[in-house]
């Protein structure tokens, strides 16, 4: 009897000790911590991204894109890597275009014109194509894991993108219109140069911002 009573007391004591030393986390959450959770779409998706990739987005309705969110994230990573490379290439092309374009616009040297006009035109198509390819890779990339409203280099990048995207869109149309319409040639070429200047400097500033800002 005495032994039994002692055993009960010992059991109560051991239970008490166990409770005292118990961790602050429940066993259930301990066991589940390494279990991956299903990854859904992020909150605060930018408007354009939600139109394309939101739950009711165009790509969802057309059944375009990978089958799982994990595959989407892997695709996004690939697309944005190419976006960076193409961005560098485009910036180099625009630097050349800005320099040559300004000399063509300002100068009266017919030799320079003869040598560089066709090259400038060809490079115009090239930089336009690379720019739009790079922009498409970013715009159509599946959504990231997170979006926030902090002012950061990525927010700066998106703001500057509106500027250089608009300027780049206008560039070939202004040049073509200038060539077609002789009466407005000077005005349209002036606008073409200004748009080119905005595109080049906005993209340069953007590259600096995304590189050096936090």
């Amino acid at each position: 009897m005495s032994f039994r009573r002692n055993l009960i007391i010992l059991s109560i004591f051991l239970l008490f000790s166990s409770i005292k030393a118990q961790s602050v986390v429940t066993q259930e959450s301990y066991d589940n911590r390494f279990t991956p959770q299903e990854i859904g779409l992020p909150d605060n998706m930018p408007y354009v991204k939600s139109i394309i990739w939101g739950k009711e987005g165009v790509f969802r309705k057309l059944d375009i894109g990978p089958e799982t969110r994990i595959e989407e994230l892997k695709l996004r990573r690939k697309m944005l890597k190419h976006h960076q490379w193409i961005g560098i290439l485009t910036l180099a092309g625009l630097a050349y275009q800005y320099d040559v374009g300004k000399k063509l616009y300002d100068g009266n040297d017919s030799d320079y014109w003869d040598k560089h006009y066709d090259r400038h035109k060809a490079m115009g198509y090239f930089t336009y194509a690379t720019y739009m390819t790079g922009a498409s890779l970013s715009i159509f990339a599946p959504p990231a894991r997170k979006y926030d409203n902090n002012f950061s280099s990525i927010k700066f990048h998106r703001t500057m993108a509106i500027l250089h995207f608009s300027a780049m869109m206008a560039q070939p149309f202004l040049a073509k219109a200038a060539v077609k319409d002789g009466k407005k040639y000077n005005d349209l070429m002036d606008a073409h140069l200004k748009a080119g200047t905005v595109a080049f400097f906005a993209l340069s500033l953007d590259a600096l911002g995304i590189t050096f800002f936090k």
């Binding site: 008490f16 005292k20 030393a21 986390v25 911590r33 991956p36 996004r76 560098i88 800002f213 936090k214």
Partner: protein
């Protein structure tokens, strides 16, 4: 048997081993990432797990803590997303540390244990400092790890990869 109960009872009464409730307002775990163009810090305040502290003999204390990698915030969601991509949080959602022993060498405590990150376990010996102030215990440590040791592909910016080593800081405030 009676003697045993008395011993255990006294041990229970005087034992100084206590579960520490982590103050999530003040505690954090952070990493410092470096790139030739800029540095940044990602912080998580979502520390979970257990911390059992022995006041009389801190070497008998135990820690088993973890933080969801998604919770690290560097104030730039694009960078956080890139880090999550390379850490593959959809497969490995947490970074955790579980102690196996605590040693003291020349007035410096070291926690030995396993760091589990990106699905890889590595034995670590981490120097820690701790202070007890009334009912609070403050533990802090700082140590470096290499991303390549955990088979993490480093993200790059304008084709330049971030540095391989990251510094992890741990600041834990507990209520005892």
């Amino acid at each position: 048997m009676k003697k045993l109960i008395v011993i255990l009872f006294l041990q229970s009464v005087f034992a100084q081993e206590v579960s520490v409730a982590i103050d999530l307002e003040e505690s954090f775990i952070s990493y410092d990432g470096k790139h030739p163009a800029h540095n940044w810090t990602g912080i998580s305040k979502e520390i979970k797990g257990s911390f059992v502290f022995d006041i009389d003999n801190p070497t008998l204390s135990t820690v088993d803590l973890y933080a969801p990698v998604f919770s690290f915030d560097s104030k730039n969601s694009n960078r956080d997303s890139n880090m999550l991509d390379v850490i593959e949080d959809y497969f490995y959602p947490v970074v955790s540390f579980t102690s196996s022993s605590i040693t003291k060498k020349e007035n410096q405590y070291y926690i030995n244990g396993i760091l589990f990150f990106h699905g890889i376990k590595k034995e670590m010996m981490i120097p820690v400092n701790f202070n007890i102030d009334n009912q609070k215990i403050i533990v802090d440590t700082s140590f470096s790890i290499s991303l390549s040791d955990y088979k993490i592909k480093r993200p790059s910016l304008l084709t330049i990869k971030m540095k391989n080593d990251i510094t992890i800081k741990f600041y834990l405030v507990g209520l005892i």
